[in-house]
């Protein structure tokens, strides 16, 4: 997955769970500012920030060998 797409996935998942940005930001203990930028691919988040958000969303990171396209 392209790293810049992660934000889109997070936004999608957040919506699916019926959470607002303030909701998720609160639950993940992250500022709305950071979350907002992350969802739009406008920042370069740390793994820790990403991890806290993914936990709330019930998602986890997996590494895979890159697929040939």
């Amino acid at each position: 997955m392209l790293v810049k797409d992660i934000g889109g996935q997070i936004k999608e998942r957040r919506k699916l769970l019926g959470l607002t940005q303030p909701d998720l930001a609160e639950l993940a203990d992250v500022s709305v500012n950071t979350l907002y930028k992350l969802e739009r691919g406008q920042n370069n988040p740390t793994l820790d920030i990403l991890d806290r958000i993914l936990k709330v969303l019930g998602l986890e990171i997996h590494l895979q060998i890159r697929q040939l396209k």
Copy 2:
């Protein structure tokens, strides 16, 4: 996957490809210092740094719904 395990996976993959830390650091345009800490889970890397390393290793990130254990 536990985020702190990513470093171990990266180290494993690097070894598999027969690369040294200086090799990988050079190819990914990252300092050995950062790579060294990352492999040991002693830092909190940005997605950009992680991405550059994963690219060289032929790996990519995928998000999955968390598995019940």
